[in-house]
């Protein structure tokens, strides 16, 4: 695997700027669902755990990898589920356009 440090650093920096700009615009109203959503997105780490487990390189890596998949998947499922449940509750008093 070609290791491209500088590109990765660029990607990190740009993503951090996008993160700041996008998240700054989110009103305090939705800060709790925001946190549970970013939590679910962060669980994309499951991808690394899947690769680690699937490569089956040592007993240790399979055991640790499987636990990691369980932990991350529970965040994916639980995180999206509770975010959606919360957002469903936010209703406006203004008449909705049909």
């Amino acid at each position: 695997m070609k290791f491209d440090l500088i590109t990765d650093l660029y990607v990190f920096m740009l993503a951090a700027f996008i993160g700041f700009e996008v998240i700054r615009r989110i009103a305090p109203l939705l800060h709790t669902p925001l946190m549970s959503l970013t939590n679910a997105l962060d669980a994309i780490a499951v991808v690394g755990a899947i690769l680690l487990t699937g490569r089956h390189e040592s007993k240790l890596s399979v055991v640790l990898g499987t636990i990691a998949i369980v932990a991350a998947t529970s965040n994916v499922v639980g995180g999206f589920l509770i975010t959606d449940r919360m957002l469903k509750m936010f209703k406006t008093s203004r008449p909705q356009k049909p």
């Binding site: 290791f3 951090a16 993160g19 700041f20 989110i26 669980a43 991808v47 699937g54």
Partner: protein, 465 residues
Amino acid sequence: MTPQATQLIIETTYLIATAMFILALKWMSNPARARHGVWAGELGMLLAICGTLLNSGIVDYKWIAIGLVLGSIIGVPLGMVHMTAVPQRTALSHCFGALCVTLVGASEFYLRTPNVPRFTMGVLSMEVILGSLTFTGSLMAAGKLQEMLPQRPITYKGQNFVNLALLAVSAGVAVFLVIHPDRAAIFPAIVGIPLVLGVMMIIPIGGADMPTVISLLNSYAGLSAAAMGFVLDSKLLIIAGALDGASGFILSVNMSKAMNRSFTNVIFGAFGQEQTHAAADKEERTVRSATAEEAAQILGAASKVMIVPGYGMAVAQAQHKVRELYDVLTKKGVDVRFGIHPVAGRMPGHMNVLLAEADIPYDKLMDLDEANPEFPQTDVALVIGANDVTNPAARTDAGSPIFGMPILDVDKAHTVMVVKRGMSPGFAGIDNPLYYLDKTLMLFGDAKAFVGAIVRELTGGGGHG
């Protein structure tokens, strides 16, 4: 299919997933469209996982399948918790996220040692250190929020020194490993020491500081995932981790500002126990109290009411009674809104969720900046279960421990009503001069029962409505 074609498909799914993740956050800025954000996130996640499963390096799917199924089984109940339990659920999910990152990092180290490039070893150490301390730290935070652990801050002499020393030792070991990546025997130190540090960091933090701490742990969880992205050279992970880290950072800064404390002060401070001495020469000050009937008359005659809820309201489970009050008053033509302080709940935005759950429309929920200009034209400010966030001493008394903290200026309303169990001081242990103002009426009693009584007076009572 050629390996190149497969690789191209995988990379494409990652690219789409990345776009979906950014869109998910973008849509969160509009409450009417926020659910689209969840769907975008889910789609991105599904694509990325399916793409990963195509990877030619995977030789064994059995354990992956077991992990995915088990994780889903655990995830569903974690997604179905009660809204008051969302803060501890969030802390627990930071804990799981950190666990995943730490375990993958440790495995990668043992698979690659002694041939770990320097840079990889550096980010791998960061991944494992941040992951381990977030793991135990979040577990402690969840325990405190669930009230399984004492919420009272525990402090001892030299606490900050011990914590900094633990951090310095982990950093030292990490640097040593970067220079000598073959010394696998000392690797457990950069897992073990941060695990201890995570516990030590949360011990001195009291219940009132939890919103800041949860946000901070969120940021750590994100950064550790980004570090993992560097180790695995995965742009998708780097971006998701950076977004999560940025989000956690913004929220922690917001929360520290809302509590008038610097970041370092929250970490090294141990609030909640500094004061209680100020009450020394307490002269007998009188308060005016009122009954539910009197309160109902005043509220019914008002044209503009601002309700200021605090966590006390949620503890008393009074949200639904408050909604009934909102309904009755709105029907009478009273303009009812809610002024919500950033630290009103146990995590950022928590109070909004609790009120939305009680079916209060979100366009009536004002944040600090929106609510404060409204108070001078407000007839009645009704404070329910909030204390320190309404304390005018934060504006006027330079000697007060909360001086400078942004508060809701309820004392600028024409009449202030405070629903409170008794005269005991609030979370921070500070006396509130608001209660002794001439315009303030104290409504002593349980929040749920008292608000219920006001609603009965307003609806029933027939004749004198």
